[in-house]
Symmetry: D2
């Protein structure tokens, strides 16, 4: 017999806990829309959102600031929608003007899709401005908030987000195998206009029919009890800390990380604080340095850096400061680890000034989380 | 701060553990085919298998012994395949003759799909015979083994299964948020013939390109560490017990459950032992009894019965004896709980004889698991 | 690297959580006395209670209904107290008259010690009556409530218990590596009369000085975080269920177990319901049956019976129904397992009637716990 | 119902796992002596060692380098031994010459007791030299290795340690609620010479009689399953890493921590590397700084410093680098956190140089653990 491992044989997640769990998410998202659970990682939920909404004749504007945004456009297109794609410079947030201009050229816009914060490059898109534009054009607004939920302010109803896709694995501190989607009444209506299709794990409407309209008991299919228990524990922790405190903690971690980089002589990938994600900071891979070697050298110190994804691969690395990592101990270890790895590769930086700058950032800020 | 909950903040699943984990699954499945991980519950993997294989012009025979089988046909059809559906009587296994006859009427068969054991009604389909027929016709064989893996003999290569979809949540004792699919070389070839499509969580070929062909490091996307750790722990437990011992334990649990039902005067839903699942036994809801009330009365005793799914809903309930439940304590509690709940509803049965029969079945059998 | 095991590296138990945890225990025990934590299993706490209280010249009456009671007397004696021991018949509760008589022969009684419920033989002592006698004689009352806390009513202040030793591992569902002791003001005073001694893990007074009088922050020494987190989780579960509901659940489990034994033709070791523990039922090892073989045969079915301890070893076995085991599924499995094991050894019993009786007991009773 | 917490209701630790677990500890300790488990925190085991060994007429030399050592002497004395105490300067290791001199004045020495490494002040005593002296005098050697096991070389048989007390909660990464003691044959003999006593949790001889001589099945009493499972998981991790690798990792963490302190202008409390613990480094509380304020300021950054214990309280703080903390991320966070907290209190130090020195120490050293 192998040793006892508490991950085995978790108790079934009781049917009567699903609805309260969804309601807690609604409160955290600031919405009275429905929230449904998709039993797969966030990409399943994103593809489901696109597959559920898209239909022939639909006019969609897809804002692309990473490969994930690109996939979203392909999924919309696969469903028959006609797509206008607005693509930002690699690893940069979208400009509001570019979106405004693109929208103004279209006689009608049914849907606008955007990623709130990008894990792949550490950017934050100007969601409030884009939301206002979508509203002005009467378009459904679809937001991928997987990498921002719990770390950036995200008030679904105030912003008028019709479909908001989130996951628990970043700032919420949960597990990645379960996703959550809020859906407005008019988004449900729009989905209902699509032709009848086979049942599909990519159909949010199926969840409406088989879960919400059945009284929100046990989620149909084979829900992973472990994921639901973990989500519940994560929400317990978020509520105990207070969402605002959590947002402030992430903001401070981002600020300290960026201050550390600047102090060591490294310009963060995103130079404008307001365009930077509070969950991860992108730092450049300096010329002449191999990105994979940089990551490997940091890993040898026990410090985890992540490669850029898509077009920015090899050009930047990401310093994660989400969840429990949004605290001084993790921030200082990660920034100094990045600097030490650069130094090992022959690109000396001033580690000492970085350490001092991070300490100073925390000196003036609110404090760490528990 | 909420109390410490070990489900929060699990360590990332290390990149170098994925390939050995897949290889362990290959050994348990008796296959040298590739095994890929789908990061969602089993239904995601089943839809992915259908979506990946189906293409216009494909001739598929879909054997339907539950609603899940029906979905599979719809998914194949959505992909353009031409489907011949062979449907068993509600809650009964398929007859080999019916399949043979159907196949013989078709000039060509590209694919045969079947569910090995049905959770919805507790049946076991005659997989070896169907496999032989598929082979004789040169068809790809697709098997939904989600509810049989670890509880019934399943020798993928010996049976010639091209695509075998499994999940860890039944006899393996793992968590339901992750699925595994074995794919033969000719199944990969067949998938490659389908037209290029957008990337999709439903594309197994994407996993081949982005995981297998990249050296089987970290699974792309956002893998749930909790699910992978839980799967590893489950395989540790299976290997420590020995797969053969685990199969024998499930067989005995089924035998004892059936003996208990018969002894209390209840004919199991499936009368032929060889057609019955080793993981769950279907028991009838006697005439005049309300199935939901039966389940509620058992639940009041702490005994979990599950409603039949699809056409058999209200006609049968399922007594689960998979995983740790495949042991005397759970079997006796479940059978007696079913009987006591019947009695409460005015359908007296001989609980005492059931208890004696279960004890007798275990007296002669191999023993409980750890 | 071995797989992730959530038991490793738990976070430190925060200093500010100890006092609220102690206060929760005070509420559950119905006391305004101090509660201290002893960082070891219950026997450490029991020996500590005796070692802390005993002193030369003290007159103590020790009621012995199991070997543990005997140890307690030896510990008191080691400290210099003069002991009168009142010993019940092996495996039987103490008679109130015997205690009354013994007390009346003594000119002065400083301390009366008793075990509330015995794990070793499944008995319940007449605590309220003994408490009244102790009070009438002005003696300190020391109660070993390790095996009754959470399963029997235990109102420390109403009963006038001066020192109450408890552990979380039975009806509370916690872990056995931590013990809790409530101490009244006059018990503290009495301890203070003992001569100054070296610091000791057996000195409750040290805990008063180094923990209570220091403001009840972190417990001195090296507290096991795992044990404190587990205790907290256990109290969460007790409070969520409600202590009264938990008591009723244990009472019903005892009643059903006893009814099952009687129905199969076995007289429970304790024939009077009021003298039987709600946490475990002792069943006889019939003449001609080997107790160890009985236990081994039940174990082969996955059913756990425990040997009697001390003088009753080989004469009885214990059927545990504490904590999560105080529910129909566990009760029926354990009783039928006992019966089936007897039958295997050539002592046929009517398993069937036992099953029916247990089901009937639950039919009229309150329901299972979660 | 509260959410599922995996710490509740762990499975019982199977009787047949205790002996192999003890044998694994014997291998890690490099001994063929018996190893017994004491079911309480390390202080229980230390007091048990003293209580078991001491007897009237015994001549013991007790080396005191912290309050714990002082307690040990009191416990020996309580048992009747005649004690010669050799006390080091507060917060300093013992000098070999002082021990040699003291031993030479005694006509006979039955026992020498020493703490290997002190958690309270971060020192390492010269164990090999003391062991040689004890051997030369034919004395039993008792070592408190609670704070060194797994972080410092500790070869029990090579050093001739008769009684070695260890705990899993430091370098081993286990839980603190269980302790382990190795006992040589001649130590057992010596214990047997003490007069018969009541059974006691402080009697190691009781464990010999009731556990070892009964075949090393389930430990008597009420073993905490959680603690045993946690110990097993900890040993899995130690063996997977390799004990030598773990020792090297701790040595590097100590070296880097000390280098960081020196670089910021702080002399470590212990100036000689060979006298410093590999598990924790003591740093001074500079003149004019309040130790508690220093700790509170570090805590506000999420960095845990611990107050000195006993005579050094307020004069030093301890930087823990044991277990998973023996790695670059934790070392840098802790040292910079200490420096930043000093700076906040008006004692500026060069944080930057510290960061660079730590990075440099890791650049040349072996790498982090997993």
């Amino acid at each position: 017999m192998p040793p006892f491992n508490p991950l085995l044989n978790p108790p079934a997640y009781p049917a009567e806990r699903y609805a309260p769990l969804a309601d807690r998410l609604k409160r955290l998202l600031g919405t009275s829309n429905d929230v449904v659970f998709v039993q797969g990682e966030a990409i399943v939920a994103l593809e489901a959102a696109a597959a559920s909404l898209s239909r022939p004749g639909m006019v969609a504007v897809n804002i692309v600031t990473s490969p994930y945004g690109g996939y979203f456009g392909q999924w919309l297109e696969r469903g028959g929608a006609s797509i206008t794609e607005i693509t930002a410079q690699a690893g940069r947030p979208i400009g509001v003007d570019a979106v405004r201009a693109a929208l103004s050229t279209l006689p009608r816009v049914d849907l606008v899709a955007i990623v709130h914060a990008e894990t792949s490059s550490g950017i934050l898109n100007p969601l409030p401005e884009i939301a206002a534009l979508a509203k002005a054009h009467g378009a459904l607004l679809v937001v991928d908030a997987v990498a921002s939920f719990g770390g950036h302010a995200l008030d679904v109803d105030a912003l008028g987000i019709d479909v908001c896709v989130t996951g628990p694995q970043k700032a919420i501190g949960g597990s990645a195998g379960l996703s959550m989607v809020s859906v407005s009444a008019r988004a449900w209506d729009s989905m209902a206009k699509a032709a009848a299709r086979a049942p599909s794990t990519l159909s949010l409407l199926d969840l409406k029919h088989h879960w919400i309209e059945q009284g929100r008991g046990a989620v149909p299919g084979m829900p992973s009890a472990l994921e639901f228990w973990a989500l519940e524990a994560a929400l317990d922790a978020v509520e105990a800390e207070g969402l605002d405190n959590r947002l402030a903690r992430h903001a401070l971690a981002a600020k300290a990380t960026r201050a550390g980089l600047v102090a060591m002589g490294i310009e963060p990938w995103i130079d404008d604080d307001n365009e930077a994600s509070a969950l991860a900071t992108a730092a450049p891979v300096p010329p002449g340095i191999d990105g994979d070697a940089l990551i490997a050298n940091a890993a040898a110190l026990g410090v985890s850096l992540t490669a850029g994804y898509g077009a920015v691969r090899g050009r930047l690395v990401r310093l994660d400061h989400s969840g429990t990592r949004a605290a001084f101990p993790s921030v200082i270890a990660t920034v100094i680890g990045y600097g030490a790895a650069l130094a090992r590769l022959g690109h000396p930086v001033d580690i000492g000034r970085a350490a001092a700058a991070i300490a100073a950032a925390y000196e003036r800020g609110p404090l760490h989380a528990n």
